[in-house]
Amino acid sequence: MARRPYPQEVDRFKWWIADPHFNRPFYLDYMARESTCIFIALYAILFVWGLGALASGPEAYAGFIGAMQSTGGVILQLVILAFAVYHTVTWFILAPQGMKPMRMKDGKRVPAGRVVQALFAMWAGATVVTLLLVWVLIP
């Protein structure tokens, strides 16, 4: 019998919009997770703008902070914050999957769930410590 394999092609723009392949919109979640980098990049640009304004002097800085803390600026930052938090959550859930299993003294594995919990605890701790430090340092 003659072989004539029929190729199955995938559209490079639509692959993730396609029928949900799994019990949840797996590819959509992936694209949302990856898209967080757009907002992190945007925040970094704003941050560098802020550093530039700070270096230029009080008037320039007042312009920067005025924009950042205007209604529009706050809303933009809250959108960025939502994506930043989504990055945090997805990063922590994925992190144990990139590591060799950690082991306790008796050789038993530390379950992945534990690692995730530890990362969330570190996040809470880091946030609290950062805010505390800032509060203490304000002249």
Binding site: M1, A2, R3, R4, P5, Y6, P7, Q8, V10, R12, W15, W16, D19, P20, H21, F22, F26, Y27, Y30, E34, L94, Q97, G98, M99, K100, P101, R103, G107, R109
Partner: protein
Amino acid sequence: MTVQNRQIEVLRYDPERNDAPYFDTFTVPCKEEWVVLDALTYIKDELDPSLTFRWSCHMAVCGSCGMQVDNKPTLSCKAFVRDYGEKIRVEPLANFPIERDLVICQDDFMEKLERGRPWIIPEQKREVDDGPYVQTPVQLDDIKAHTMCINCLLCYAACPVYALERDFMGPAALTLMYRYNADSRDGGWDERREVFAGHGGVWECSFVGACSDVCPKHVEPATAIQKGKMDSAVDYFTRFLMPGGGK
């Protein structure tokens, strides 16, 4: 024991008669405990002997019966009809050329599997008189999950990188390479580096993670590849810092 009629919508393709695939729908009286493979077998036995599909063990250890069931890469012997609706769509595994009906062409995978050298390449060749390798339970446990691959190719059907970039070695081939690289008895990193860390290797993976999600044996291919990236990155820098020197 209840019997329920289900509509099994199956992709058909005869390379000698058809220009393109099409769908046939069969009404199959399914017993409560049946899996999709049982329904396909009923179709072949009672309704259309020309229906062509791969299967063997009927117990999810041989890896033969992979196909898309309601668009999800699944082992048809592990897909219980009671978990699906009245109509079930069955198609050949995604991302592979269709040979006939539900049978896909595996040539690409077979070539990639071999290219990865998935066997122990010892540091020093051992003779039988040298005695066995010694490996601790912890050393085995580190790689155990990755040794369980049955080459069913569900991970390739789930992987969007493989779907779009056929040069990609793919989850199973890379996982097996990692499994041997990480085996305490192995010393073959040098032999595998070109394939593992080169074009089409671990660095094409963008950690979608769909492969681990569909794997019926919990091999965790996504994890193996990410660990492989870490090993590969360390290797890259140590070689850079000691050119011509270290492994």
